[in-house]
Symmetry: C2
Subunit: 247 residues, 2 copies
């Protein structure tokens, strides 16, 4: 299965190393049950009008507390991979904010935050994407599905990895046939204004920091001062916590 | 009304300048319709066993990209006020993460983020508080109501200020008699696992950065590179956007 996915991606023009990055992400999404971000995306890549398999992201600012990246036409998955590798290679002394423009699509965000948490770093990641969700009062789509993922490492086991979009169903769910366009609304039912406000706020944050000319991402990476997860697992008395399925 | 609130707070032992800070916050909450964080909190302060009106927060680390604060027994409102003033006085070159421990209660978070956005800074703020919300499967409370506020400035009018808790109703609503303990669950109905995951992730982030010995807060302050709000207001065609009531 690994070879097949990689071969299909290479057939789109990607170098083997890049195809391996993409295949690893799609296969992880399948394992996590996030099929909308999974192998179905390979066919979807082939439909992208601006697909440039040779494009390479660039880090344009590198400070201990701040990095700026530009996708330079590369798929967001590849930009995120380089960002994650750069953080693992050189973690911040305390905290670092990483701002990426021209960074789309970014896939399922828990894939990136979990890898940082597996290395002992706390991570928070959000991103922008095409407008899919209307205002709770109705009308045209105003915001993307706007995921937010937070991963916190643990001294005694896998990290806790939350990864939540603000949509009742994701566009990936629609692509995969498990939801309809009518489910592309903010989640929460009578309190959908909450998910809409969260999504709009996160989206504007990315736009304010990364610019409005492209889709982007904002990542916070931090070296923890404390180890709160073991106590939380104890308090949860065995209940499944976010990210446990993918651990 | 201002004098009355201030006088009532001074009667608890607070110096006039601190009482003015607290009164301004409570009165803003009333104006915003967030009565659970409003004047009813003055009587609540009197019930706090450890209330120390003379306590003063301290900034223990001050770097351009990172600050660390300790409430040192002060009310969280007063710690947040000093944090906000410090950011306004010396904004970051790009981004700054501010981590506060012993910082409770912090009130309605939009009060703090809006003031940063009114000065042209993007701001994201979350905080911890006593456990109120159970896991979606039921059981004892696991997480606080865990608000997240995001404020983004605008070149042509008031900022957009989202300020959302992960609870169906806040503890403030319960204190104010507008909700019951049964409403202290994650919002979202059949998708309450999303609000629970967001709240747990945010809470663990604060604990990982601020420590687990006290309630804390994490603030991201950023100098925007772009001005996305005017276009969003145009696209919203007059629909009310988060924070407009308080503008």
């Amino acid at each position: 299965m690994n070879l097949t996915a990689q071969a299909r991606i290479e057939a789109l023009g990607f170098a083997p190393a890049d195809a391996a990055i993409l295949a690893a992400h799609f296969e992880d999404a399948e394992r996590q049950g996030r099929k909308g971000h999974g192998l179905a995306r390979i066919d979807w890549l082939a439909t992208l009008p601006d697909l440039d398999p040779a494009a390479r992201p660039e880090r344009t600012v590198a400070e201990d507390g701040y990095e700026r990246w530009d996708g330079r036409g590369a798929l967001g998955y590849l930009t995120m991979e380089q960002i994650v590798r750069a953080q693992l290679e050189s973690p911040p002394v305390r905290t670092r904010v990483v701002v990426a423009s021209d960074c789309f699509p970014t896939g399922h965000l828990g894939y990136w935050t979990r890898r940082l948490a597996d290395a002992g770093l706390a991570a928070v990641l959000t991103c922008t994407s095409p407008p899919r969700l209307p205002h709770p009062d109705g009308g045209e789509p105003q915001i993307g599905t706007t995921p937010l993922s937070i991963a916190i490492p643990s001294s005694d086991g896998p990290p806790i990895v939350s990864d939540v979009s603000m949509a009742k169903a994701t566009y990936g769910d629609v692509l995969a046939g498990r939801a309809t366009e009518a489910d592309l609304v903010p989640f929460g039912g009578t309190q959908a204004h909450k998910a809409f406000a969260l999504g709009l706020g996160l989206e504007l944050l990315v736009e304010a920091l990364a610019g409005t000319d492209s889709y982007g991402a904002v990542l916070l990476v931090a070296r923890p001062e404390a180890d709160p997860v073991p106590e939380r697992r104890r308090r949860a008395s065995g209940a499944r916590l976010p990210g446990d399925r993918g651990a």
